[in-house]
């Protein structure tokens, strides 16, 4: 089976542009979801009265609905009731909405991994709740949270494959167009897979290394 190398070379710039767009959107989504997740876990930690339930509801809603529907709702649905967002804004908002709850769960997992006796210890020397967080919980939660956050980042990067559905010229969209227009299916799919491998494989390896390092630190403790 002959691979049409000329075709591949000619469309590489398109793919490159799409890959950068994907990375850009993923980055925006990741940063926003980290902030949302952090905010949510602080609210849950401080047990702020009304907000606590709001945060819990948000987390359940975003974890139990698919990103595709969230995007469609944001892009097509909201537009009809007067809130018109650009495709890229929708993508980032959708990713942030979905990712925020995953990040919040990561932070929560980290906070809960700090043993009760450590917390009682901190309290018994008179630390305030915020001081407890800063000096006792965060440093110890760190090692548990980081791998989890890393996994979420990779997850969000993969989820960007969905944003093509709302007319963003990302990798999936480009592939679909090319298949439709030129019927060079094999070549288009090949570059698609390679593009994702290039983006995600290094991160995955990094994450595995990170997890191993953290596990060593834990046992060292």
């Amino acid at each position: 089976m002959a691979i049409n190398w000329d075709f591949i070379i000619s469309v590489l710039p398109l793919y490159e542009k799409a890959a950068w767009l994907t990375l850009k959107l993923a980055f925006g989504g990741i940063v926003a979801s980290l902030l949302i997740g952090l905010l949510c876990s602080i609210i849950l930690y401080q047990r702020t009265k009304g907000l606590k339930w709001l945060v819990k509801a948000y987390i359940e809603l975003s974890r139990n609905t698919p990103l595709l529907i969230q995007l469609f709702f944001l892009y097509y649905g909201l537009a009809k009731v007067g809130v018109k967002l650009s495709e890229q804004t929708c993508a980032v908002v959708g990713l942030a909405f979905l990712g925020g709850s995953y990040m919040a769960e990561s932070f929560r997992g980290g906070i809960e991994s700090v043993s009760k006796s450590q917390i009682e210890l901190g309290l018994s020397i008179g630390l305030s709740k915020m001081q407890l967080m800063r000096y006792v919980i965060l440093p110890q939660a760190f090692s548990v949270t980081i791998p989890s956050l890393g996994a979420n980042c990779i997850f969000l990067l993969k989820e960007t494959s969905i944003v093509g559905a709302i007319a963003i010229a990302d990798l999936m969209h480009v592939t679909q167009d090319l298949i439709g227009m030129y019927y060079q299916t094999f070549e288009a799919l090949l570059i698609l897979v390679i593009a994702y491998l290039i983006m995600i494989l290094p991160l995955s390896v990094l994450l595995t290394w990170l997890e191993r390092k953290v596990r060593y630190a834990e046992f060292g403790n």
Binding site: S115, S117, Q118, E120, L121, G122, L123, S124, I125, G126, L127, S128, Q131, Y135, V136, P139, Q140, G220, N221
Partner: protein, 252 residues
Amino acid sequence: MVILNENKQALLEIQGLRKMYGSAAPVLDDINLSINKGEAVVVLGPSGCGKSTLLRCLNGLESVQGGDIKFSGKSLTGKDVSWQEIRQKIGMVFQSYDLFPHMTVMENIILGPVKVQKRQEKEVLEQAAQLLDRVGLLNKKDVYPRQLSGGQKQRIAIVRALCMNPEIMLFDEVTAALDPEMVREVLDVILGLAKQGMTMLIVTHEMGFAKAVADRIVFIDSGKICEVAKPDEFFTNPKTERAKQFLNIFQY
């Protein structure tokens, strides 16, 4: 039984203390106890009788459902109790010799005094060094907890609590989780503190130690104070049936 001491001002007064979880039977029922400055009171009793819970109530780690606790005359059971302030004056050492694993020994010790009491770091470092020296662990000041034995960690936990300059120390079965060889070194430290006049409330299973350190023995069973006596009397001539049964457990 109530022991009143009209001559000295009680540092800690526990009146009619009651603690329950939900609607179950009370874990602590009508506890009345006064502790004077300089006194070392040892609390003995079978497992599950509520002695650890009593200590934790004094420190605000457990809520109280009835009765009152007065510390230097101020009530600890009201709504506006600032536990942050109180805990600086009530030092507690736990059974799990937990130190903060991500800090060195010295950092562990100075955290409270510097960050909570806002004292000068230099002064705290000096005091910490002195205290470490007295327990024989000055050479470990820059070491991380994972490199220390249980007994060493527990002694440092005591130093950490002492560095806050508390008025009373609570010891919750601090040697229960230690290997037998290390129990002695920790108990010696506590004995030393008692001789220096530190007010303390100790929960322990070590009978020999209790006899040596206590000014008074308080025997608790099923959440109630059964018997209060001087150590000599308690160990040689217990007055209540329950106390007799309890002491028999330790005879073979």
